[in-house]
Subunit: 213 residues, 2 copies
């Protein structure tokens, strides 16, 4: 997973320095979510974060290292909001929690006016062909997210709530992939219909493995 | 739907003129598939299509009008290859044809070394927030594609091969959305695993509506 700590090229920062670095990363994440990576210059980030050019270069040697930090921050956000263990649903290990997860995604997209798509999916799409390192960081973020969804389904199977022929790895990845497609279509169509019908279909498929009580 | 004919701003072209315009559009489509829209300049397209700057501006008044033509060409290609009526599968109106469609997508991605994602999905993702006209063109392309997939499922239901509680509109859109997610994850992961498990799950869901013979 891309974490801030893993970035050994980053200097050890004071609390104030870390706050400045975080402010720059947040501003970059917001701009890249709105305008895309290519549409966001270091100058734009500098203006939005209200720092000097020398401050940006103190924390990030170039745009790529800033993009790396943005991927890390967005991954943490997305896994925090849509991973399997978080305050909103407790664990994502029941049909009820999975349906609430689906509703949360739909509600969130509506609140964002259908804009932006998945914060890490869109980064992946933009960077996959031009920045192999960034692509790997995004893939690692997805793997972490995937694991958290698979773990919830595995817990359901371990408790005998899903039949033994249910494959949590396949079902978890399929759920996440369906969510990605749904978020992309939400962005393109400017409505949540594709997201809704696709997650509903995928959750009906998961439910077909539920052992009747 | 975005078609060349609908572009009333385009001048009436001679056969040679149309060939030059097509060469420019094809070169632009290939470059934008490889490097993204933002990473492709009119100068790049000019060099790849081996035309003069004045020739490009004769056919396209700016980059946006070139992007519009690229969306149109890519939509026609994608609907031709993955729509419901085309030489490869005949009609996409049987489980056998749907499974062949899935296999074709997987094989195609492998032959492309997992690069590029969906030619229109990636255009949509890149342009949705910055070019509302282009976003609408991509959405119209998707709607056309969706209709062709829905039509196949509707034919199955009309013949009594799917139960009456199967909703071809929902199932068709879910299939297309799952394909989009799978193509995005293929691009990010550099393998077809997400594409395979997600289409398999979605096709199993469709198959759950099949009336036993």
């Amino acid at each position: 997973m891309p974490t801030e700590k893993a970035d050994t090229s980053a200097p050890r920062l004071t609390r104030k320095g870390q706050a400045t670095r975080d402010r720059i990363t947040s501003a970059a994440a917001a701009l890249m979510f709105e305008r895309g990576v290519a549409g966001t210059s270091l100058e734009d980030v500098q203006a939005a974060a209200e720092v000097s050019p020398s401050q940006i270069y103190h924390y990030f040697k170039d745009k790529r290292s800033l993009v790396k930090a943005v991927i890390s921050v967005q991954t943490a956000q997305v896994v925090g909001a849509f991973g399997a263990v978080q305050p909103r649903f407790g664990r994502l290990d029941s049909m009820e929690a999975l349906r609430a997860w689906r509703d949360f995604a739909v509600t969130l997209e509506r609140s964002l006016d259908y804009a932006g798509g998945c914060p890490i999916g869109t980064l992946g799409s933009q960077l996959a062909e031009t920045d192999p390192e960034a692509r790997k960081d995004v893939a690692a973020g997805f793997a972490l997210w995937e694991k958290s969804v698979v773990d919830g389904l595995q817990a359901m199977r371990d408790r005998g709530e899903l039949r033994s022929d249910a494959d949590p790895k396949r079902l978890g990845l399929a759920l996440l992939t369906a969510l990605q497609g749904g978020l992309l279509l939400t962005q393109i169509r400017r409505d949540t219909w594709a997201l809704e019908v696709t997650l509903d279909a995928m959750l009906d498929h998961v439910e077909s493995f539920v052992v009747p009580v």
